[in-house]
Symmetry: C3
Subunit: 181 residues, 3 copies
Amino acid sequence: MKIYTKTGDKGDTSLIYGARVPKNHPRVEAYGTLDEANAAIGTAVSLLTAENESFIKSLQRVQTLLFHAGSELATPADKEVHWKLTPQHTEMLEKEVDQWAAELPALKQFILPGGCPSAAALHQARTIVRRAERLIVSFETEVRTEEVLRFVNRLSDYLFTAARYANLLHDTDEVLLAPDI
Amino acid sequence: MKIYTKTGDKGDTSLIYGARVPKNHPRVEAYGTLDEANAAIGTAVSLLTAENESFIKSLQRVQTLLFHAGSELATPADKEVHWKLTPQHTEMLEKEVDQWAAELPALKQFILPGGCPSAAALHQARTIVRRAERLIVSFETEVRTEEVLRFVNRLSDYLFTAARYANLLHDTDEVLLAPDI
Amino acid sequence: MKIYTKTGDKGDTSLIYGARVPKNHPRVEAYGTLDEANAAIGTAVSLLTAENESFIKSLQRVQTLLFHAGSELATPADKEVHWKLTPQHTEMLEKEVDQWAAELPALKQFILPGGCPSAAALHQARTIVRRAERLIVSFETEVRTEEVLRFVNRLSDYLFTAARYANLLHDTDEVLLAPDI
Ligand code: B12
Ligand code: B12
Ligand code: B12
Ligand SMILES: C[C@H]1O[C@@H](n2cnc3c(N)ncnc32)[C@H](O)[C@@H]1O
Ligand SMILES: C[C@H]1O[C@@H](n2cnc3c(N)ncnc32)[C@H](O)[C@@H]1O
Ligand SMILES: C[C@H]1O[C@@H](n2cnc3c(N)ncnc32)[C@H](O)[C@@H]1O
Ligand SMILES: [Mg+2]
Ligand SMILES: [Mg+2]
Ligand SMILES: [Mg+2]
């Protein structure tokens, strides 16, 4: 089967279970943006090396969970979701944040996004996840996907801390915001 | 002539032929987002080396065609388009997808976006092109730019396959989605 | 204090001075997108080396000023802004553009976004800043933040010229658009 099916050439596409919707449907906007965040995490992973194995594993688990989130968003409200996020998935993020935070200095100021290339990519992923969160919120008025919203909120804090941790792994100094320039 | 003209400081700008519109006009949103996708392809190209010459040429041809698409979107509906996309441009994308696909294993599952840095960048470009497609769809209710829509739909499949091909060129394994983690 | 406060799990958040708003509020969209542009600049900086010290300093000053812009957008219209952008900040951008432009060949054609990796990242930042500008424009109908709009308009020209300058620093040829392919 070819990758291009041409069925979407007129601007509509299908959700899981097959309902046709325009490509700018709020659900498509939301999972499309999670796909974009997923790709940004992929860039971060591509910049890490084998020594960072457990860190890579953690990020790839998140990439997988973004497909779960996407699957939930791509399923019409009245149908069963195949891959559902649970509170345990969000707690998993929290546990990792706590572990990394224990090795990092406490923050009392913003930091300039950046550092080593993988940290910079994680900051980009963080801001794209937050963009997806804003889209899900607008769409939330329509139907509840509460756990996706919690997961995505926690994910941006996970990615912020992951960026800091990537800099620690690569001995790169953080640059704190110095507002008076 | 200076690059900054200050004429847009109040929030409006001009289309081709000079009509003034606010910067958040649907047409400006659409070609502005294709510009963003173009920049992401530029990142992918920047990560390839001279050995990948024909692959680079293909991506730069796509960058050029994104200016054609932009030009069409920036032209008011009642005026002649200078650089018009034709069905042949879309077919060109299809031919390249077919050629790359012939060298790649068949897929029966999603893949985690990423791999080598250039493949990761191509996945990012893919998701931005899809964002542009969603914007063009909303704007399509206003006026027809049918070939642009077909081209952009095919382009995300081209970029997906290009990402896979970049990994093949760089001997990087694809990571298939393993939903049960 | 933990980085994750869980207070935003239901989809609302707070502006400076504490007013609660939904996360898809136009102000949050605007400063969230400037945060995304900031992260893209962080990627560009991460790809530069110590020899480019004064160039890095310039980009980090811009990152800092994006926090000023964000602070202004995050402050309700009837409250005092803590970190305010002034016309001098916009003029600072203009002065740097003029200095770089003096070393660069004049342009009479578009260029394909890309070049060395840092230049490519600067083009990505440029297009994200322009996306933020489009969001601020929509929101401008609601309340005036005139200097932010001027700053952001100039910033995309600064980033365009910075991308060209990064290529000059790294001896990378610019690729001019050749529309007839
Ligand atoms: C939602 C969705 C997405 C979401 C992701 C899914 C998620 N859960 O978040 C997003 C937006 C990320 C996405 C992206 C893409 N998708 Co999609 N997607 C779908 C959709 C609507 C549902 C899939 C799903 O989640 N099913 C739920 C699971 C539980 O059910 P399932 O049926 O067992 O699903 C499996 C298969 O669909 C499968 N699969 C089987 N064959 C193939 C072949 C290919 C090429 C791919 C990528 C997947 C795939 O993977 C799923 C997981 O086990 C289907 C169409 C449909 N209505 O089924 C298209 C579909 C699977 N997608 C398709 C394509 C082409 C893509 C993209 C390549 C598009 C692009 N150019 O970017 C990318 C690939 C991304 C990647 N990283 O691999 C095509 C595949 C066509 C083919 N050749 O077989 C489909 C069939 C749509 C179509 N055009 O008809 N997609
Ligand atoms: C649409 C458009 C875009 C689209 C791209 C075009 C497309 N087809 O997709 C996008 C959004 C990508 C874009 C981006 C930019 N643009 Co523009 N764009 C235009 C616009 C509205 C039409 C251009 C067009 O496509 N014409 C159709 C062709 C067939 O006609 P043409 O007249 O022969 O067009 C040629 C010239 O405009 C030319 N050109 C001549 N001198 C210069 C100088 C510069 C610096 C550039 C970049 C181009 C350029 O390139 C065209 C191709 O041959 C013009 C304004 C206008 N109304 O003409 C501005 C314009 C060309 N852009 C301008 C600028 C500054 C830019 C950016 C630098 C803005 C930024 N900071 O990001 C970037 C540069 C991107 C790049 N990669 O080089 C300025 C150039 C000012 C100058 N110094 O000469 C113009 C004149 C607008 C203005 N401010 O008055 N743009
Ligand atoms: C606007 C805003 C942003 C803007 C940036 C600010 C700007 N000016 O553009 C954006 C969207 C970029 C942002 C991002 C983040 N923010 Co914020 N932000 C705010 C907000 C609403 C106002 C901050 C501000 O500008 N104050 C104006 C200055 C003049 O007043 P100030 O009170 O002295 O502000 C200082 C402190 O807030 C401070 N600070 C003190 N302790 C901490 C701790 C942390 C972890 C951070 C990041 C900052 C920080 O830095 C400010 C500068 O001096 C506050 C909540 C609030 N209502 O105060 C949250 C707040 C500071 N942010 C918070 C967080 C968690 C983040 C992010 C990590 C979220 C994420 N996952 O992406 C990122 C970090 C980005 C970075 N690069 O460091 C948390 C910090 C919680 C904590 N542990 O202390 C707060 C308190 C919100 C909350 N959850 O309650 N934010
Ligand atoms: C750190 C600050 O970022 C803002 N905030 C919270 N969620 C988002 C989001 N999804 N996108 C952009 N900004 C957000 C709030 O103002 C918060 O206090
Ligand atoms: C692979 C799946 O991606 C979705 N899809 C199709 N086009 C877009 C787009 N522009 N943006 C986001 N998602 C899209 C459809 O649901 C399709 O089946
Ligand atoms: C160079 C051209 O880019 C367009 N333009 C001006 N501002 C923006 C923006 N924020 N986003 C996208 N396009 C823009 C105008 O059409 C201008 O002429
Ligand atoms: Mg949050
Ligand atoms: Mg498609
Ligand atoms: Mg401008």
